[in-house]
Symmetry: C2
Subunit: 203 residues, 2 copies
């Protein structure tokens, strides 16, 4: 790499630097999903990505630095919300997206690995928080539209409704191990709306 190499994210998409970043982040995600956090190092990621070890060490420095960059990319790539015209439709779509992510053979284990990584490193923890902040913010307008339509009370904390939809799915995934299925997703959406209507999330 040249001495004037730009920081990640500052080059045009499709440039050589962007291609290297994409390959390395893809390899990092695959490796985290397959092996978990604790046994990985940058040399292994470079090998998987087919990129020189020196390039990876120079650019990301540590597995922590690479994991933070991966979380930034995941945050940027968050899928757009669904707009169905009703809060139940929108939040059911949100719950199904969370369900699909947690049950996905790559994304589920990747999230587990990222949570473990966040537990070991403060910068990764902050990047994980940032990732969820962006995910939550993406769906907030669904609740704001529902407030305007009069479906839930004015003053409802929209982000808290979005968190309430995801929570039962994450609880089962990380803690209780109870089955994750469409019924759970449907109940998560309906429960969040019932609580919002009752004024529980009104600030």
């Amino acid at each position: 790499m040249s001495d004037e190499r730009p920081e990640p994210g500052t080059v045009r998409p499709g440039g050589r630097t962007a291609k290297v970043r994409a390959a390395v982040l893809r390899a990092a995600g695959d490796a985290l999903a397959e092996q978990g956090w604790d046994t990985l190092d940058l040399a292994e990621i470079a090998r998987r990505a087919g990129v020189g070890k020196t390039t990876v060490y120079r650019r990301w420095g540590t597995m922590q630095g690479l994991t933070v960059d991966l979380l930034k990319e995941m945050a940027e790539e968050s899928l757009p919300r669904t707009e169905t015209g009703t809060l139940l439709g929108d939040l059911t779509a949100q719950a199904r997206l969370v369900l699909k992510t947690l049950r996905d053979a790559r994304q589920g284990p990747l999230l587990r690995a990222l949570v473990t990584a966040a537990d070991c490193d403060a910068a990764t923890a902050e990047a994980l928080r940032g990732f969820y902040r962006i995910r939550i913010a993406e769906w907030v307008p669904c609740v704001e539209a529902a407030i305007e339509r009069g479906e839930v009370p004015a003053g409802t904390d929209a982000a808290e409704v979005i968190r309430a939809v995801s929570a039962p799915l994450y609880y089962r995934f990380f803690a209780s191990g109870d089955p994750l299925d469409d019924d759970v997703a449907a109940r998560a959406a309906a429960a969040a709306i019932a609580a919002a209507r009752a004024g529980v999330f009104t600030v």
Copy 2:
């Protein structure tokens, strides 16, 4: 140890075998909370517990075996539910107990380590599920009493209400990293009740 050593849990409390088990499980919990799952081995636990390495290897075999036994002990030691006479009082007490556990300097990191351990080993995953099954079952009678009092509809899935109380706290702890405080606990209880009243958890 003698050749006729009993299986864990089959001897009288206070006997030598029970004392060794208590010391080793205490050391295992401390070590998991401090170091996490991945760097531990039985020799380190034996050293911490002040128990011979051979004893620990003979009795538990692997860190997985020891972790399963720790989860069994934790399940047996689950705190009794609070009975306040109202569902809101009871479930607020449940939410505060979860909050206290997750924020505890030993128990919070221990739960993280156990979730990581469960991700690496099927028997540990089953033991973790069993631990939550018992925790949830302990609080189910609060919802059953509320059904009898007419606070929530007949046919309400009591265990699902209990899960709904814990879920927002676990979501913040493992995923979003949003603050965990008494307001979150109070909202978790109120939201679960609102959803139950609306019939979301009725089967």
